[in-house]
């Protein structure tokens, strides 16, 4: 058990609302947990903000709490027990400089959590993991999507044989859309959140995560043609969409319910649709669909080999409080205190590797791209 006295924040910027603000506020003021308000366990905090020396919102926090804003990242980390790193907005590139500074400067036995992806490449993520181990620093990355409430509260029973999985997400809200719980996400952000939502579900399958054998990018008509050929599952998309509270289409017009899949409306509604077909090394097929104009929330569906479909919505609580960050703060506190990872670091490595491949032009040809370096296996 680690005694938590000082926490350090390494932030690209501090603005409302943002993951940086949500996490800083919780580790200064506290958060809701199990029907109670829990005060932050840390006695003091220090922050380094890359893009501004002292933003007004943060300055107010220096008056309200025992928070010091310092001009250098290394200075923020001095004598800290734990470090939180947050990029500008959901899905922004990982700030690898911050991670390196944290791993170089944190006292041995400390803990570091980075919001979002661990790194921007698999190689860098692996190097960080190795460095953290050698310096006896507990390292982890993630977003609230992996621990948020599910509606309904379902989980894949551990060691269930699984044949297919799908997650449908939104990258950018539609004009006039019911207000999204979070600001628009970057292209990379949609895929990050989709992986953060889907991997915790499917890694519970029999044998655990086996790694990824290949990926294939599809967009526009090619995405629908692949669906028609059964290369991703329309029934799973229908099941996932059935969990959405924000279907678009005529629901926006007059509140009418629609079977978006059954009526064949999805291709017409989708704006710039794109998807990633992921073949895992154990044969599982996963699909990540980014369907702006179809839904404004995050929903998954998985098909066990024994039949049936398990589906749910990954719930994001409304602004300004975005209480899914309260759940993340609780998980982070436990991680900081005990050093026990709530999920395997290998998940972060796999996500870093997948996002790296997603971002490469050579991955976006519409052809299947082998990913021999993504054979990252881990148990749930």
């Amino acid at each position: 058990m680690r005694t938590l006295r000082k926490i350090a924040f390494l932030l690209e910027e501090f603005s409302k609302p943002s993951p940086a603000q949500q996490l800083v506020d919780r580790f200064l003021a506290g958060w809701l947990m199990d029907g109670e308000f829990r005060r932050s366990p840390f006695e003091s905090a220090s922050a380094y903000v890359m893009l501004s020396t002292n933003p007004p919102d943060l300055e107010q926090r220096t008056k309200d709490f025992k928070l010091t804003v310092v001009p250098r990242a290394e200075q923020a980390i001095e004598s800290a027990d734990a470090v939180i790193i947050a990029s500008r907005k959901p899905g922004a590139l990982a700030n690898e400089r911050f991670v390196r500074i944290a791993l170089d400067s944190l006292p041995a036995g400390g803990a570091c959590f980075t919001h979002g992806a661990l790194a921007n490449s698999l190689e860098q993520a692996r190097e960080f993991a190795t460095l953290a181990r050698s310096r006896q620093i507990d390292l982890l990355a993630g977003t609230p999507l992996c621990i948020t409430w599910r509606l309904p509260e379902v989980n894949l029973p551990l060691a269930t044989p699984l044949s297919e999985a799908l997650i449908v997400v939104q990258a950018n809200p539609s004009p006039g859309q019911a207000s999204p719980p979070s600001p628009p996400s970057s292209l990379r952000g949609a895929e990050l959140h989709a992986l953060e939502g889907l991997l915790p579900v499917i890694e519970r399958r029999r044998g655990g995560e086996s790694g990824v054998r290949s990926i294939r990018f599809l967009e526009d008509a090619a995405l629908w043609k692949a669906g028609a050929r059964g290369e991703w599952s329309w029934p799973l998309l229908a099941a996932a969409l059935s969990r959405s509270h924000s279907p678009q289409g005529d629901a926006l017009l007059d509140g009418r319910t629609q079977d978006l899949v059954g009526l064949g409306l999805v291709p017409n509604l989708a704006r710039n649709p794109r998807g990633w077909l992921i073949e895992h090394r154990d044969g599982l097929r996963s699909a990540v669909l980014v369907l702006d104009g179809v839904v404004a929330d995050f929903n998954f569906a998985v098909q066990p080999r024994g039949g049936g479909i398990i589906s749910s919505q990954l719930y994001r609580a409304p602004t300004p409080a975005e209480h899914h960050f309260s759940r993340l703060a609780a998980v982070m506190e436990e991680f900081f205190r005990t050093g026990k990872s709530p999920w395997p670091l290998e998940r972060n490595l796999l996500i870093a590797g997948l996002l790296e491949r997603f971002g490469q032009p050579s991955s976006r040809t519409g052809r299947t791209v082998p990913t021999p370096n993504l054979g990252i296996a881990y148990p749930s």
């Binding site: 029907g35 308000f37 509606l151 309904p152 509260e153 207000s179 924000s246």
Partner: protein, 353 residues
């Protein structure tokens, strides 16, 4: 299940009836009776749904809107009687604004022997987290923190609390008295009731929308802050016949969701949010109606209501006597009429699917 016919009482600007009816080929009838008989001589349908919570209707001096729920119900009952046949009936929200009418509606359903299901969607919607008060739990007090107005969302708050309270050991016994209070006196009363204060905080800690502190939205306000900053709350305080207590807080501007906390003898607290994905702010569809519609369908298919109508009889009375208390200056009002005892269903029917 086929929607056989509609009777719609008013057609305001923005009416959707005609478009929906045309698209789904559903006939709109000019009277309640014709909708039930489909224009023939006797009852021609298998179930009835009465929804009356919008539209322009007279208001009482106490602030109630005289929606025609009782009138529609009575006209339906007359068709049942003249047809020599009754079918399951669902009544949305509280039964009536008049206690005698509420009693008459339940009495008619017993007399004619038709399944009668009524109330709010709150008891059957998702819960975050998906908690269930065990049947027979030693529950001693319930609190709901919610929003809305007099004779409108107050029934939702009451049903939120009652679907949990009724599961206590001994079941529901009825309500002995009510006191409705508006303004800072609410906070004074909370301060005097330690367990209520504890439950109030626990319920507030399940809200996702609490705007107590603009600067630090992740926090929840304490009583001192509320006294200073939230000066026009509305609260209903009830004493049940077995000593149980229910409090409902309508806190417009502070929250826009429904949260519950219940205290067991011994100190254990059950708490959750009854989750309403309410458009347009949080969703595009009011999907909390999905479980309600499912239960209505199941009642019509099975011929059995999912839970006793006495729950809604009691919450209807709790609503209208609270309004009476407020009208009479916030007095503590004895409610000998509300000796409504009933047993909770084994399954509380909230949405887990």
């Amino acid at each position: 299940m086929e929607l056989a016919g509609l009777y719609v009482d008013q057609f305001p600007d923005g009416d959707l009836t005609r478009d929906r009816a045309r698209r789904h080929r559903v006939k709109v009838f000019p009277t309640v009776e014709e909708a039930l008989t489909l224009g023939r001589s006797s009852l021609a349908i298998d179930g009835v749904v009465i929804i009356a919570e919008h539209g322009l209707y007279p208001r009482t001096e106490k602030g109630q809107t005289l929606y025609p729920r009782h009138e529609f119900f009575q006209r339906t009952v007359k068709v049942f009687e003249s047809s020599g046949r009754s079918v399951p009936l669902f009544n949305d929200k509280h039964l009536s604004t008049d206690w005698k009418e509420c009693l008459a509606m339940v009495e008619a359903s017993k007399r004619l022997g038709f399944p009668f299901f009524a109330g709010s969607s709150l008891p059957v919607t998702w819960r975050i987290p998906a908690v269930e008060v065990p049947l027979g739990a030693p529950l001693v007090e319930s609190v709901c923190v919610c929003y809305g107005g007099l004779d409108s969302y107050d029934i939702h708050g009451l049903e939120t609390a009652q679907c949990m309270s009724e599961r206590r050991a001994g079941g529901e016994t009825g309500v002995k008295s009510v006191q409705a209070v508006r303004g800072v006196k609410v906070w004074e009363m909370v301060a005097e009731r330690e367990s209520t204060q504890r439950l109030f905080s626990a319920a507030l800690a399940r809200s996702f929308t609490c705007r107590g502190n603009d600067r630090y939205s992740c926090t929840v306000p304490d009583l001192d802050w509320l006294k200073r900053n939230h000066r026009n709350p509305l609260a209903y305080f009830y004493e049940h016949l077995d000593g149980f207590r229910t409090s409902v807080f309508l806190l417009n501007g502070l929250v826009s969701d429904f949260s519950y906390a219940g205290l067991e003898r011994g100190g254990r607290i059950h708490s959750c949010q009854m989750f309403l994905p309410m458009p347009p702010a949080y969703s595009t569809l009011a999907d909390f109606f999905n479980p309600l519609v499912k239960h209505i369908e199941q009642m019509i298919l099975d011929g059995a209501a999912p839970y006793p109508v006495e729950r809604t009889l009691l919450t209807s009375g709790m609503t209208l006597f609270a309004i009476e208390s407020l009208y009479r200056g916030g007095i503590q009002l004895p409610t000998p009429e509300l000796k409504v005892a009933y047993a909770a269903p084994t399954q509380s029917c909230f949405w887990r699917a």
